[in-house]
């Protein structure tokens, strides 16, 4: 059977074994690698909750995209939400990115990541400490978080509720002396409580590419500071776009806030949605897509 990707097994003690993993008290005995093992070098881990808001997805995509363009390998877990947004942003550069799985590196999980994982195995790297063909198990995902932490020079927490599995990665990172970076979020959004709490506890706050560049250099990664950020500042936002920019809103609330007829608001929203200037969320609210998220 010929596969479009390369499989390799790296044992503890092999010269190819990534040295950064040795910081762990229980480094994986064997790394099962699908794709190019050369990508297993310290990079930036971008992690966040599966249930992410537009803001979280946008930030994951924006900062992962910038860091990837600036020369950092993006490490994440291929999970729904922020993880996938980070991987995709890195691939859009295109730049190397590593997915660490809680199942066999040749197993497609989660279901919606099939094409992403296939792409990563072919052009980048998918890695796991579990043998080929291992089924996903809950405990394995908690264990793999320590590999994500150890493979990275710094861990960027984009968005996470409380409690969240994202915290286990941050805990592992702190335990082995990796820097934890966090993006502040709205105090109203339960999805943002995690990073806000981390910042309160001393995590490095990231608000733009300069912050991230400083943090990555402090963590010992070489990045190209002059990389332009892919944020296009829209010259003109309509009244409705401005209203939903920071917090998504429902048509009824929008109509009330703008004291306009709901039918008129629905029509403008429909028009904006058709031209991708706003998007409709699953819960019926409308929001503004983050600029870099649009590459997806």
């Amino acid at each position: 059977m010929s596969e479009p990707y390369r499989r390799s097994e790296i044992r503890l003690g092999d010269p190819a074994y990534p040295g950064c993993l040795l910081d762990l008290s229980d480094p994986p005995k064997v790394l099962y690698v699908a794709g190019d093992p050369a990508n297993l070098r310290p990079g930036l881990a971008v992690i966040g909750a599966r249930r992410a808001t537009l803001y979280g997805l946008g930030c994951a995509s924006r900062f992962a995209g910038w860091a990837a363009a600036a020369g950092a390998t993006i490490i994440s877990g291929a999970a729904i939400g922020c993880d996938q947004a980070a991987h995709r942003a890195a691939r859009a550069v295109p730049a190397p990115t590593v997915a660490v799985l809680g199942c066999g590196a040749d197993v497609d999980y989660p279901n919606n990541a099939v094409s992403l994982l296939a792409e990563l195995r072919e052009n980048c790297t998918v890695v796991s400490e579990l043998p080929w063909g291992s089924h996903p198990a809950r405990w394995a995902f908690v264990r793999r978080n320590r590999i994500i932490a150890a493979l990275s020079a710094a861990v960027l927490v984009v968005e996470a509720g409380l409690p969240s599995g994202t915290f286990s990665t941050a805990d592992h990172a702190l335990a082995i002396g990796r820097d934890v970076l966090a993006i502040p979020g709205s105090i109203n959004a339960p999805e943002c409580r995690g990073p806000n709490r981390l910042i309160q506890a001393g995590a490095t706050i990231i608000t733009d590419a300069t912050d991230l560049a400083d943090a990555l250099e402090a963590a010992g990664l070489l990045v190209d500071r002059s990389t332009p950020e892919a944020v296009n500042h829209k010259a003109h936002l309509s009244e409705i776009e401005r209203a939903v920019r920071s917090d998504p809103m429902r048509p009824d609330d929008l109509a009330r806030a703008l004291t306009q007829d709901v039918v008129k608001v629905l029509r403008i929203l429909g028009e904006l949605e058709l031209t991708n200037r706003v998007i409709r969320l699953r819960d019926g609210r409308y929001g503004v897509p983050q600029p870099t998220a649009r590459r997806q």
């Binding site: 009330r256 409709r280 969320l281 699953r282």
Partner: protein, 492 residues
Amino acid sequence: MQATVLTATLSGVEALPVEVQADVTSGLPSFIIVGLPDAAVQEARDRVRSAIKASGFDFPNARVVVNLAPAPLRKHGTGFDLPIALAILTATRQIHVNATAGASAVGELALDGSVRSVSGMLAFVIAAADADVEIIGPSAALRTAHVVDGVRSRRLDSLAQLRTGPLPEGTCVPIRQTEHPQPDLAEVAGHNAAKRALEIAAAGGHNLVMIGPPGSGKTLLARRLPGILPPLSPLERMQTALVHSVGGLDEAPTLAGVRPFRAPHHTCSIAGLAGGGSPPRPGEMSLAHNGVLFLDELPEFGPAALQTLRQPLEDGFLTLVRAEGRVRYPADFTLIGAMNPCPCGYLGDPERHCSCSPWAINRYDARVGGPLMDRMDLVIRMDRIDPDLLIAASPSEPSAPVRQRVLETRAFAAERGDLASKLSGTALLAACALDGQTSRLFTEIARTKHFSGRAVTRVLRVARTIADIERSRRVMTSHISEAVSYRDRSGE
């Protein structure tokens, strides 16, 4: 001595003529019913015997054979009691043959000889009118008989009446045209976007799904749809009343023009929804004929039961095929579904946090199934409204002006052609009459947004109705942009 009395038996919503032949001959006393009677008809023997005796007649001390012709047709129900008793009384010369000549008799007998109503009386009345015979039955069942053109009816409330002279003519009891009060839209505060969708659904006959957390007012709004629909036309009244009569419901409100609103509980079985059983009875879909079928907690209905909705939603009727034959029930209804956004119900709720995983939400959605969702033109999101707004809300528009707009829109649509919800394919495109620029724009959008063929149809149908509301012959870009906001949430 022999005698024949006419009656009928139900098949679907039709009554098929049946002859009851009684033969009373000397021999060992016995009472036999032949001609494919079901259990209820067999039980008629005991009721008929007691009723005849209780009414002061003699039950023949002889061999009594009753044949129900045509013999191959299976006979159901208790409506045969009366014609069997009449046939025996005629055969034994206890009543004159003229008492039942040229008449079809339907009724159930009590042991004391009184005559009781049976369901489906309207069908029997129609069959009698078609056969140009009189109908004999209890006065309670005949009070709506006069709605059928050219029917003559005679009332028989007790077998004993036959001993006192000719039966009284059925008098015309006019159906009271009292307004059956409908819940009013004015009682619902806020929800302007949802009300707009409801008006579009009423104007275009579109099916609608409301998605929202518990207590967001989905049921409240759905119950107000019949109040903004146009009143039933005379033909629709007869169709719907017939189904209700056969289904054992009171047909009087329907005959007064009230649109049916059926809201079966989600434990409803397939037979309960689609019809069935032995003998087959109309299900909720048929009872909602020309009205509204409201399915609250849509994903909680059995998947098999939900899928039975698909064919009637396309065809407007459904055919049950059973071992004993096939029956066809009308089922042309507007489907209103209500569901929670996720299993816990609070996805997107501003106050309560949703505890469902993305997988659980996808699974929940999948329970309704794509093919059924494909038939729902309007999908709207509803949310609980702030109590402050509830109290401070300016008075809402009552149902009457909304209904007036719906009537005017339907009149405009009728002039243009079919209701938008009935259009598809080239007829829909022709009805939309998109101009070159709108058409190009829409094609472009449909491609970039990956609209399926079904999605394009739904958006255009809804856009057509919105254009009807505005009396526009052409569907404009603004109509399409509004229609897009009522799309379902798949692919996000």
